[in-house]
Amino acid sequence: MRTKTMLGLTTALTLAVSAFAAGADTIKIAFIDPLSGPFAGTGTNGLHQYEFAAEELVNKKGGVLDGDMFEIVAFDNKISPKESLIQLQVAIDQGIRYIAQGNSSGVANALTEAINKHNRRNPDDRVLFLNYSAVDPALTNDKCNFWHFRFDANADIKMDALTDSIVSNDEIEKVYIIGQDYSFGKAVASAAVRYLGEKAPEIEIVGNELHPIGKVKDFTPYSRKIVASGADAVITGNWGADMVGLGKSVLENGFTGPIYTYYAAADGITAAFGDAGVGSLRLVAEGQLNPPPNDRASEYIQAFKAKYPDGNLSQARITNVIEMLAKAINEAGTADDVVPVAYALAGMEHESLWGGNLMMRESDHQLIQNVHIMEHTSDVVHDHDNSGFGVKVVKTVEMAAADSPTTCEMRRP
């Protein structure tokens, strides 16, 4: 009796194990971003978009290779570079080969350095870094490496498109630049000064200043200065509460011109502006939601909203990350060795879910894509924050900065 039970058990176990081995594997992608603290909202929303993209675009279509499924594993880095390195080690120890991160270029700089070092020392379990949001230009220039891929347009590319739009507007003769006092705010300001100087030296920069990040109670004195300077347009890299505070105050105090921003959409910002932002707020970004680029994108947005009614498809590029990674793994024929996957990704061309082509530039692993100037309006099909307002594309720069120079000197394995 007993031996029979043992035999039965063993058989069952063997069967289970072999079934597991023969069946679908999972390919894990580590999502290292803030899931607690002040930026938890952004991080969590990004995680949902990743999970949804993996499920909808890969797993429901039968996965990659011979039925391997994507799985997103979340790691909370509290937006600290130090914490991120610990989480990176945990992810590597769990055998994860793909690392996705986006919030804060500070974190991305730490991760890309650590991953480069790790891959050099451990040729047997190398990992890839899928940077979907950190836009510091250095990541694909001086600090570039073979393992890092950036899917968002970097700060310089965005500023290039943004200044194009300013230059083409004859009504703008004076520009005011204002931003948060830290590396990104400074990068935006210097890029704005550089591009405006090159493209239209006749445009006067009537103000260029930084304010403390996250500490300004009332933006009124700043808006008074902006109005008094006679500026026709404002450029700002502000995000979060600083974006809402600055924007609302500037509009309330009588500014009527366009406000060019990087991040004035979703995460409560669209709802907070509401009617006040119409006609003024502009946004430079990739990923077209309105007017809907195609039926497939509309269906995708509706399905996402059905699953996460309070969520926003605020980072369209996440679908590009998932689709291009799946394609690269299929091309390479393996998910375990990331070197062929990286070679497949580099130079890959792909048609985005959001319309337009994507090209992962081989020289620096910067994704070249359409960059849009969007405006805040109620004339949208897919809104943000369930507010009835959203962003609509008004101008597109096709394959922005495709031939821009890079200082990247990549060493390939």
């Binding site: 996250g214 004195p221 309330e252 009588g254």
Partner: protein, 318 residues
């Protein structure tokens, strides 16, 4: 010249808002001798409650109901929290209010989330009251000024002209004597705490639409309120008013004008070291007034503490 007038008005709005917060706090401080770290959290609660109410009943009902709710909540905190902790001394009280501040912030994030709420000014006040040289003054700002001044006059009247006010003032200085005369001092304390937090609630209701209703709103205002009451003098309503206005104008003007440290130092007779980027004094020479606007009140506080420790209008020696 026109801009000076505009900045005077802006500074007045900032100052009066600060006053509504510090008025309650300065009474509570002088009464219990304890810093209520959670005071700015009640301000935040006021804004969130008013936002929630405004979704159903409109802005004006929010302005009416939210401060009452906050006041009752504050009174409850005093009655069932602080009063029990009081017997163990000041340090536990301090820790209690500090914990309360953290708790309220987490609670707000739990209920309303981390995003900014779309709390807007009422439509009836969404117009430009008047313009000075192209700088528009929104009607809502004028409304804020009137509400604050009305509250100040009301408070001043109650505290100095009514029987209740006399008893409160007496209880602030000689609680034991007042109790011996047959007055219920714990009830007075609870009432003052309730009114103080309700005032913070009013400030939250009217500031929420312009300064933003988000979980960090208590944090950005928290420390400056303490600075105000220290500068003004503990327990002095006039002190709170003068200090608030002073801070409002100082920060507004230093942000609105790009005064450069370089000019000041040159005027004082120093010579600029050349080349500047190699000098150890580089940071000092390149400071502009908007950069240091937010720490000016703290510098003022330090000066006040050195030269007049009991504050501008304080009566007792600290």
């Amino acid at each position: 010249m026109d801009l000076i007038l505009v900045n005077l008005i802006d500074g007045l709005v900032t100052g009066l808002l600060l006053f509504m917060l510090s008025a309650g706090l300065t009474l509570i401080f002088s009464m219990m001798g304890v810093l209520n770290f959670a005071h700015a959290s009640f301000y935040m609660l006021g804004a969130y409650f008013a936002f929630q109410i405004s979704l159903y009943l409109g802005f004006w009902m929010g302005l009416l109901i939210a401060p009452l709710v906050v006041g009752v909540l504050g009174a409850g905190v005093e009655r069932y929290g602080l009063r029990r902790v009081h017997q163990y001394g000041h340090v536990p009280e301090l820790i209690f209010t500090f914990g309360l501040a953290l708790l309220i912030e987490e609670l707000v994030q739990f209920i309303w989330g981390k995003n900014q709420m779309p709390y807007a000014t009422p439509e009836i006040l969404q117009f430009t009251a008047f313009s000075i040289a192209g700088n528009s003054i929104p009607a809502y700002k004028i409304f804020m000024i009137f509400i604050s001044i009305a509250i100040f006059i009301g408070l001043l009247y109650v505290l100095t002209r009514t029987r209740v006010g006399m008893i409160i003032q007496a209880a602030l200085t000689y609680p034991k004597t007042v109790e011996a005369l047959g007055h219920n001092v714990p009830l007075i304390f609870m009432g003052v705490f309730g009114v103080g937090t309700a005032l913070a609630g009013v400030a939250g209701v009217i500031a929420g639409p312009v300064l933003g209703t988000f979980p960090g709103m208590a944090f950005v205002l928290g420390s400056i309120v303490f600075v105000t009451i220290v500068i003004g003098g503990l327990g002095s309503l006039w002190g709170a008013l003068v200090a608030s206005l002073l801070i409002g104008w100082i920060t507004t003007f230093s942000k609105a004008y790009n005064l450069r440290m370089e000019d000041l130092l040159t005027w004082l007779g120093f010579t600029k070291p050349e080349p500047i980027w190699d000098s150890a004094w580089r940071d000092l020479w390149s400071i502009t007034s908007p950069q240091i606007a937010d720490i000016l009140p703290y510098i003022l506080m330090v000066l006040i503490l050195i030269f007049r420790p009991y504050g501008l209008f304080g009566k007792r020696d600290a």
